[in-house]
């Protein structure tokens, strides 16, 4: 029997705000332990939380970018549980009236549904030692958005595409930096398998502790195979939570509690509901940036780029913006794309080249002033120093010789000095011309226009 997987993802995203969700402590990764805390985020009795407007705004913005319906009325609830990462013994979250409902993440050829997006507070970070655990409350209270997907994914690749596309949208909107290594984006998965054609879902298994996108990919691949193998042996799955062990490459059952979770949600009396007015919604809507899918399409149409180029450039919003500025000043947007993709990606952060300078470099090549080979050297210097293309070309005396008369003289010299290559060429070995071309380039100290040299040599050798 053939089996298929059914995957749903719960993604937690830390919002990019200056301060925490319900207090004014700063949000920062990597600060000294317990330095970004106050009575509110430490859960002292008698304190009052006050909502961060920007966190609410960024959640609504996320909802708009993902095509969600924005709730005009939404409220806060207490999710009760005992764990030292949440010292007031409840987490402020949203239970039945989340800020965003529905929506979808677009991946190539498919839309993967979103169930809801709600806003809550992050918990503290705990460290485990031999006999004790230690808690750092810096992270406690960071605005955290939870995005719950529909069980729409059928393969590991779709789950991977979902996460990649979601990240692109959120980073593009400035909502979060989504750095998984810093815990800014965390993901749990619900996975089940069923015979192909069966409508009903299998028993779902929750997987936790996947700390990178590639970890998610490997964990899901492992878990799907494990469940299919079990199903083929006739074993029934029981609902459980499993932990992904990245080093061992396996999932294993997490110790289950005696009692199932009973969070006893109830409305948070310390916070007032949120009402999203038409005006506020319109203001946030005006901040919705062009979405990656639309941008890719536009890059193909506006700049005549292949889809591959568009995909690579759009994947990083900063790179895409840089490209557009450079392309705007150029007659050859595809050449700009080539430079960006081959020379700038990966070291974009260190780039000192202004976008219009890159356009200038491309113009110098296209205008025949310098050769492609010279351009590489010019580029390297531009990258390191930030100097303009024209300035460097002038400084280095890197002017390509396109003067046919001068090149004819050099071509004559090369022909006279290499009778064997000449003979080879005339005997029908067409590639022998490349050696002669190399000699002319050498004589010109690399400054000859290679295309022109080729033409001149071919003409002379045929004579």
């Amino acid at each position: 029997m053939e089996y298929e997987a059914v995957i749903g993802l719960e993604v937690h995203v830390q919002l990019k705000t200056q301060s925490k969700m319900f207090c004014g402590c700063a949000t920062a990764f990597g600060a000294e332990p317990n330095t970004l805390v106050c009575p509110v985020c430490l859960g002292y009795p008698g304190v009052l939380p006050v909502m961060n407007e920007e966190a609410v705004r960024k959640t609504i913005l996320s909802g708009l970018m993902l095509g969600c319906e924005i709730a005009r009325f939404s409220k806060w609830d207490r999710k009760n549980y005992f764990y030292p990462d949440m010292p007031k013994n409840y987490q402020i979250s949203q239970y039945d009236l989340p800020l965003c409902i529905g929506g979808a993440v677009a991946i190539p050829g498919k839309k993967l549904g979103i169930t809801r997006i709600h806003l809550e507070e992050d918990v503290a970070k705990s460290f485990h030692y031999e006999t004790t655990s230690g808690v750092d409350f810096n992270r406690a209270g960071t605005p955290l958005m939870e995005i719950v997907s529909e069980p729409d994914m059928r393969t590991t690749e779709e789950a991977f595409a979902y996460l990649t596309a979601l990240k692109e949208v959120l980073i593009g909107g400035g909502v979060s930096d989504c750095d998984m290594e810093k815990g800014q984006l965390r993901c749990d998965a619900n996975v089940s398998v069923r015979p192909v054609g069966q409508k009903a879902f299998g028993e779902k298994i929750e997987i936790k502790n996947m700390n990178s996108i590639s970890g998610v990919r490997r964990a899901l691949a492992y878990e799907i195979q494990r469940q299919i193998a079990a199903a083929k042996r006739g074993e029934k799955m029981v609902q459980e939570t499993r932990r992904w062990d990245d080093e061992a490459g396996v999932t294993s059952v997490m110790r289950t509690k005696e009692h199932a979770h009973d969070y006893r949600y109830f409305p948070e009396p310390d916070l007032m509901p949120v009402v999203v007015s038409e005006a506020w919604l319109a203001e946030i809507r005006s901040a919705v940036p062009e979405l990656p899918e639309a941008k890719r399409k536009r890059f193909v149409e506006q700049y005549g780029l292949p889809e591959y180029d568009a995909e690579v450039l759009v994947a990083d919003a900063a790179v895409a913006a840089y490209y557009e500025q450079a392309a705007a000043g150029s007659k050859n947007p595809k050449a700009i794309s080539n430079w960006v993709m081959t020379e700038l990606l990966g070291k974009f952060a260190d780039n000192k080249i202004a976008p219009l300078q890159l356009a200038e470099l491309v113009a110098a090549i296209d205008g025949g002033q310098i050769s492609g080979k010279m351009a590489k050297d010019v580029f390297a210097e531009m990258f390191a120093t930030g100097k303009g293309a024209t300035v460097i070309i002038k400084e280095k005396g890197l002017v390509q010789v396109s003067d046919a008369g001068a090149l004819e003289v050099l071509a004559e010299q090369a022909i006279a000095a290499n009778p064997k290559s000449v003979a080879d060429y005339r005997a029908g070995n067409a590639s022998a011309i490349n050696f002669l071309k190399g000699q002319v380039m050498k004589l010109s100290k690399g400054k000859a226009n290679p295309q022109l040299v080729g033409e001149i040599l071919a003409r002379k050798l045929q004579a």
């Binding site: 402590c25 009973d262 007032m272 009402v275």
Partner: protein, 97 residues
């Protein structure tokens, strides 16, 4: 919640609240809570089918603050109340999952 038709499971609720109760306390609280519950059950007599659920008793919405960070409190003071500290962390018995 496992309680049904007014039956109150004190052992379950005590566990959720991390309370350790003696048998005598179980019996005592069971009847006390039972009484409270029966009293509150009176509310069921009201027809609320046309009443909008209340999100908050106070008619206020959108109490928001600007996203501005302000200084946190001194770590020494923060950790002064911890039963035990090490590496500037709050230390507690090992948490098992």
């Amino acid at each position: 919640m496992p309680e049904d038709k007014g039956q109150f499971d004190v052992a379950y609720v005590a566990h959720l609240a991390r309370l350790q109760l003696t048998d005598a306390e179980m019996t005592q609280f069971s009847s006390q809570l039972q009484n409270i519950l029966s009293y509150v059950t009176k509310l069921n007599e009201l027809d609320v089918s046309n009443v909008e659920p209340t999100a908050h008793a106070v008619p206020l919405t959108n109490v928001l603050r600007k996203d501005e960070a302000r200084p946190s409190i001194d770590r020494e003071r923060v950790l002064a109340n911890a039963p035990e500290t090490a590496r500037d962390l709050f230390i507690m018995p090992k948490i098992v999952e």
